[in-house]
């Protein structure tokens, strides 16, 4: 899908939506599966986002500085008996891009451009 510079794809917007939603619930950092689940719940969908689509989108968001990521402490994973998680956090730029993206999405649904008012 071609896009204008700075524009978010629907999945990227969904990821930021879900991540900010998780943050409001006290989870500042999220991992891939958690975000896939959150997106499914928010949309009431049956299917989780595909692996390739999800991690590629997260990579794009990270490249653009909208999220940052780190490996969690391996000891934590070891204690819980599971593989180590890659943890993502939405940055300030991510929050701003999300706000702009939401406004654009809302504007396009209502036929308005961002920054314009219905008269």
């Amino acid at each position: 899908m071609r896009r204008k510079p700075g524009q978010l794809l629907p999945l990227e917007l969904d990821i930021l939506d879900a991540a900010l939603d998780l943050r409001r619930r006290g989870e500042g950092e999220f991992h891939g599966f958690a975000i896939a689940q959150r997106i499914r719940d928010r949309h009431g969908a049956r299917q989780l986002t595909a692996h390739g689509t999800l991690y590629k989108a997260l990579g794009r968001l990270e490249e653009r500085g909208l999220v940052v990521s780190r490996w969690e402490d391996p000891q934590v994973a070891l204690d819980e008996g599971r593989p180590v998680r890659r943890l993502y956090t939405v940055t300030g730029a991510g929050e701003r891009a999300h706000a702009t993206g939401r406004m654009t999405a809302t504007g396009s649904r209502t036929g308005l451009r961002p920054g314009t008012a219905r008269t």
Partner: protein
């Protein structure tokens, strides 16, 4: 689950280790979380398998696009590095040619001056003047010929430098490194030309 791991190993094969390991570790973690969640909600094993498999299949185009983008990035970086190395070689070669031309012009003019006016005390210095003109002309002709006949051009510069070096020993410090660099450049260049001709003929 085995299929997801196998597919992950397949499409990340040959990628830089950091990117490969990261993607495989993320997939492993995702799979674990998915199965853990399925167990906690007592989802039927067949439904979980179907979900995991469909997540894999629907993500295949994105996986391949991701791999392609990484390969393209690596090619771009190697091209950029190649260009930088080429620029470095050109700068060095340009400097060598510039030094050769400046020295050549200087000695041709100096030789002509000696022939016309003699030495500082007016004594005849014809042989020295001739040597300087011949050496200087060689230094000028070498770079001019280098693009068509790199070996001949380099040889002219070296011989010219030696001729002048025999009259001005202090110039050996400049002549020898410049000559060596030009010989090296000429050898590399002529090998490339030979290889290109061989490839063209077939």
């Amino acid at each position: 689950m085995v299929v997801v791991r196998a597919w992950g190993r397949l499409y990340t094969r040959g990628l830089p280790a950091a990117q490969r390991e990261r993607r495989l570790a993320e997939l492993e973690s995702d799979l674990h979380e998915h199965l853990d969640f399925a167990r906690s909600t007592r989802q039927a094993a067949a439904d979980t398998d179907f979900e995991v498999l469909s997540r894999l299949l629907l993500g295949v185009p994105a996986d391949l696009a991701w791999r392609w983008a990484i390969n393209r990035g690596a090619r771009h970086r190697s091209l950029l590095l190649g260009r930088m190395v080429n620029v470095g070689k050109r700068v060095l070669l340009g400097l060598g040619v510039a030094v050769s031309v400046v020295l050549g012009a200087h000695f041709v003019m100096n030789g002509v001056g000696i022939l016309l006016g003699g030495g500082e005390g007016g004594e005849p210095l014809t042989p020295w003047g001739v040597i300087e003109i011949v050496g200087g002309l060689m230094l000028l002709a070498g770079p001019a010929l280098a693009s068509r006949q790199p070996r001949v051009g380099a040889m002219l510069v070296v011989v010219g430098a030696l001729v002048i070096g025999s009259t001005h020993l202090w110039l050996a410090a400049v002549n020898i490194p410049v000559g060596a660099a030009l010989i090296a450049a000429a050898v590399v260049r002529s090998r490339r030309i030979i290889a290109r001709r061989a490839a063209a003929t077939g």
